[in-house]
Structures are given as C-alpha cells and as structure tokens.
C-alpha cells in the first residue's frame, strides 16, 4: 500500500507542476486513455529537462513507447450484461498484452473490473472482480505469471459513461488493463 501511495504522490506532484510547461503533453495522453475518470498518465516530457524519476534509456526496456501504439493502446475489455466471459472480439487485445508482458518481464499490470449500475452495488463489486479474474486467467493461460497481475474491482462506482441506458451500460461493463507506473 505504501508503494501505491508513493506512486500516486509522484503523479500528483508531476501533474501539478507543469502548468507553465507544455500542457499539450498531458492532453495527448489523456486522449489515448479515452476515460475522464482516470488520472492523466505521466510520461517523461519531451523537453528532457526534468529530473530523473520516469526517464528510461533509449532502448525502451520497459516498453513504454510500445504500449502507446497499435492494439496495445487498447486497454478495455467489454462484457455482456451479467456475464463475465471474455468475448472472442477481445482475443486479439488479450493476446497482444500477453505477448507484451511475456517480452517485458519487469512490467506488471493491474486489472480493474467494472460493472454497470444495474443490480446491487455489492454484487456488482463481486461481478467486477469476477470479470477482472477472467481477464487474469486469459492472460495466465497465455504465459503471464499470476504474481505479475493484480486484480481490483470498482463495481459500479467508476463508470466510463455516466448515462442510464444500454449504450452507457455497455461502456461500463469492462475490465481496464493498467500497467505499473501508469
């Protein structure tokens, strides 16, 4: 828990700082995430003048650049109502992330499960967990060790879409793949 708090602290500090710098950097990042509730991801700024923490070598050992391109920048797996099975539409996405994780042994992921607002809050919490577990299992089958994956459920509390119809609900029945440090 301490570690998570520290990381959050860094995010807050960094996100708070560059107000006089190029604001566009943050905006671009947010766009690729698609969500409004996710805090903006902090990546090393192009200016290169800021001190140390997230800066990596030219070889991109962490795969940070790769994660922003192609299918790897897709991070959400959507589910049917009351269901927790990963649909075939998302096979390619899951495979791509499994391949990335197998090739980048230092990276870890958090799988964040979500549910739509129908049903009870508490049951939806468990349903979000079950969805996160389903994605974890799918990645595990493809060679990703379980200890590199953490699952968490937000139940119905972090909707991507705030509407109250099927279009919104479909957006909210999902698992988000979040990489360490993001």
């Amino acid at each position: 828990m301490k570690k998570i708090l520290l990381v959050l602290g860094v995010v807050v500090v960094l996100a708070g700082c560059p107000s006089k710098g190029p604001v566009q950097d943050v905006k671009i990042d947010e766009k690729s995430q698609g969500g409004t509730t996710t805090p903006p991801t902090v990546t090393p700024p192009v200016t290169g003048t800021t001190g140390g923490s997230g800066v990596v070598g030219n070889k991109d050992e962490s795969g940070a650049a790769a994660l922003k391109t192609g299918v790897l920048k897709e991070r959400s797996i959507y589910f049917d109502y009351d269901k927790d099975s990963v649909k075939s539409d998302f096979t390619a996405l899951v495979q791509a992330h499994a391949k990335f994780l197998v090739e980048h042994k230092t990276r870890k992921v958090r799988l964040e499960g979500n549910a739509d607002e129908r049903g009870s809050r508490e049951y939806n919490m468990a349903l979000g967990q079950r969805r996160a577990n389903a994605v974890k299992q799918a990645l595990n089958v493809l060679g990703v060790a379980n200890d590199r994956m953490e699952t968490v459920s937000f139940g119905e509390d972090k909707p991507k879409a705030t509407g109250h119809d099927e279009a919104a609900w479909a957006q909210n029945r999902r698992v988000d793949i979040v990489y360490d440090g993001e």
């Binding site: 998570i4 607002e117 049903g119 009870s120 508490e122 049951y123 919490m125 468990a126 967990q129 968490v152």
Partner: protein, 429 residues
C-alpha cells in the same frame, strides 16, 4: 494513522462551512389508505418568539409516518396552552382523539423551558407531560423527543424521530459520508473523499460507523468513532474488502473478501485482526447480514446461477437457500425483531424492487416499484424500510412502510444520495 488524523482535522475545518451552506434532505410523502389517528397540535405559547418552531416539527414527524392526521385548528375559539383552558367537548365534536399543548419560555441563562402535555380527548385525561430545559440548538431535537413520546403513548411502540441516518452523498467528484437526523435535517459530514465511500453501517450502540474506503486506491474496511472522529482500518487484506456488517454484540464484522478467490463471506474482529472464513464456494458470496440473535448470517450467493438469498450459521456450516421466486434476489438486511429480511428482487420487466421475506413462512411481499432500488435498511422500530432509489438518473432515498402503504422520497439539492443506513435508538446523541 497520523495522516488520517491530519486529514480528519482538515476535513472538519472545511466541512464546518459546507454543512451550514448545504440543503438538507427534502421529504415527499405519499399515502394510500389505512386509518390515521386524528391529532390536534396547538402551537405552543411563546413559540413564535423562540428561535425554532417546535409544533411544525412534531406535526411533520407524526404525519410522515402515515399513521396520524393533523386536525385543523381553524374555528376553535380559544387555542389552549394550559390544561385549564381545554374545552374537551369542542375537540370531541371535531373527532379529535389526541390533543397536544405546550409552552416555550426563555430562561435568564439563555436556555428555554419547553413544557408539553398530551391529552386523550375521549377520556378527557392527561396521558403524558414533560418539561425540558434546553439550549436553542436543542429545540429541534426536543420536538423529535415530544413526537417520540406522542407516538409511543398513542401506538404503544417506540418512535424513531430522534434517531439518525447515515448515507453517502456524491457531490460532483466528491464522496461524503453524512449523518443526519431521521427527518433529513442537520446533516453532518463525517468523511469526505475523492475516492468512493461505500456501505456505511451503524454499530449496534450507535457510536460508530463501519464503511468501505478507497482512499488508498484499494478497498479497505474502516471503523470510525463518531464522537472522536478516530478511524481504524479493520480489514485490509489483498483484494477487495467490502460489504461490512456488524454482529449484534458489536464484536465482529461480517464482510466479503476476495483474498482467497472470488468474494466469500468472512468475519473479522471489529477492532481488526484475523479473518475467519464463513462460506466456502466457487461462486460469489456477498452482502452478509447477521440475524439479531447473532446465530446466523443471511447472505447473497450466485452458486445456483443467479444471485439468491441464503442463510448460514454464524460460525460457518451448511448454507440453506431461502429465495426461489425470481432469478435475481440480493442486498438482504434483517428487521430488528429478526422476522423479516428486506431485500432487492428483480421482476420480469428487469425492475429492481424492494421486498420483504418472512423467515418463518418463506412468504415475500414486494413493496416498491423500482426500477433501480438498492440498499434497504430497517428503521429501529421495524416499521419502515429506508432504501436507495437510483432510477431516474438521480440518486435519492426512498422509504416505505413494511405494509407498503406509506412511501417517502428524500432528496438532496447537493447531489446524489445513496446507501442509506438507519441508526439504532442509541444513535440519537
């Protein structure tokens, strides 16, 4: 822990201002049928000069239950404020059964002396009388006490007007855990966070709340002392920690943990410590609620396919399925007398509605129309169920009498209200 305290003081400072500015919960009452006791409440002598009117509060408390109706006072020649001025024949002719009179007088030290008397008009006799000496800020609470006394004398059961309710208010991006009077007034924010707060439940003695916090980006279960503001993490196992619920003796908390698999029911000491696993299934087991005798836990499991209510011995054992009607039954809460389970059932039009299930007979009774009701909670006298009505895109609270006859809506201008929990009698302080 230190940072918790710092945060608490900081919040306290912010909230003092916020609490004053915000609107309280606003109540709408709907009634259908049934006998109502006609009560005349005469404005107390000196009331207009007091900082808080008392009789309108008493009247609102009583009529809000649907069990009383206020008799009009127009045309009464002399409105009595002392027993000697009562003409019982007058009131009898108007079919008034109970008469309430009183006085409010300022005292030299700035406090007020509130005198109240209740009369049985038919018997022409005094049923109850009280004298309270209170500060100006206690006048509203005194009105609730008087309403409780009238309710108890006329219906021979405890009133709930002096109790508190806890709920979560979502105000913009912020979640606030609030405690308010049972009539929605006097809301106090006891915790404010940008991360969700969930499932508040009262300790049996009304001194603490247990709830789920996501302040560390992960669910943890916290017990907070309401008088001191002191908070203690009682469950922070790997995975999810949620759906907490007190044992009747206040010593344990039943909750759902996902540390070993998908959500299962465990209990932990209410001061924190080792978790004892209660259910053993490969399915989702969630939403535990102790029965008032402490012997069993009612919970939700989808081991049969969809979520249904089950009962298991509180120390673990073989669960027994309770609900068979409908494909989706969840969110159980026990009535104080242990006879009824309030729960949420999904009907064939996909509406989620509040219902009761009678443990002795297995009979169920659907009380609300939905479409997105959740989190039922019994009043401490068992007469009313408070719940979250999130249909219509806006989070409001609803309340319904267990006979389904009286319905109320409680909404807040400040934001979405959710996950209500009605406090026990001891929560009145």
């Amino acid at each position: 822990m230190k940072s918790h305290f710092a945060k608490w003081f900081y919040l306290g400072a912010c909230l003092l201002m916020a609490t004053v500015a915000q609107a309280q919960l606003v109540i709408d009452v709907t009634l259908s049928g049934g006998r109502q006791i006609p009560v005349a409440i005469v404005p107390f002598a000196g009331e207009v000069d007091a900082p808080q009117n008392i009789t309108p509060v008493i009247g609102a408390d009583l009529t809000g239950t649907g069990l009383f109706k206020l008799s009009p006072l127009a045309g009464i020649a002399i409105l009595p404020t002392e027993p000697s001025a009562i003409n019982f024949a007058d009131w009898s002719a108007r079919a008034v059964e109970a008469l309430v009179i009183g006085t409010i007088a300022p005292m030299p030290d700035g406090r007020f002396e509130v005198r109240f008397r209740l009369f049985d008009v038919g018997k022409q006799s005094q049923v109850s009388s009280f004298v309270y000496t209170v500060g100006a800020t206690q006048l509203r609470a005194t009105a609730h006490k008087i309403a409780d006394e009238i309710y108890e004398k006329l219906l021979n059961e405890h009133g709930i007007f002096s109790t508190k309710v806890a709920y979560v208010l979502k105000r913009g991006p912020r979640y606030e855990l609030q405690v308010a009077d049972a009539d929605g007034f006097n809301p106090q924010t006891v915790l404010s966070s940008l991360e969700p707060i969930g499932g508040p439940k009262w300790s049996p003695d009304g001194s603490k709340l247990v709830y789920v916090s996501y302040e560390s980006r992960k669910s943890t279960v916290i017990v907070q002392d309401l008088a001191t503001g002191q908070r203690k993490v009682v469950s922070n196992f790997p995975g999810d920690n949620y759906a907490p619920s007190w044992s009747p003796d206040g010593k344990r908390i039943a909750l759902a943990l996902s540390k070993d698999s998908i959500a299962q029911i465990y209990t932990v000491p209410s001061t924190g410590g080792e978790a004892t696993r209660i259910t053993e299934s490969k399915a989702i087991d969630v939403s535990p609620a102790f029965t008032p005798d402490g012997q069993s836990i009612i919970f939700v499991s989808d081991r049969s396919g969809g979520p249904q209510l089950y009962r298991i011995p509180a120390a673990g054992g073989t669960p027994q399925r309770l609900t068979f009607e409908g494909s989706y039954n969840l969110s159980p809460r026990m009535s104080p007398d242990g006879k009824l389970v309030a729960y949420v059932t999904r009907d064939d039009k996909q509406r989620l509605r509040i219902a009761t299930y009678e443990l002795a007979t297995g009979q169920f009774n659907i009380l609300t129309d939905g479409p997105l009701d959740d989190s039922p909670s019994f009043a401490p006298n068992g007469r009313t169920i408070l719940y979250e009505a999130k249909g219509g895109g806006r989070g409001v609270l609803g309340s319904v009498s267990v006979d389904g006859r009286v319905k109320q809506r409680l909404s807040s201008q400040a934001g979405d209200v959710r996950e209500p929990a009605w406090g026990p009698y001891g929560s009145s302080r």
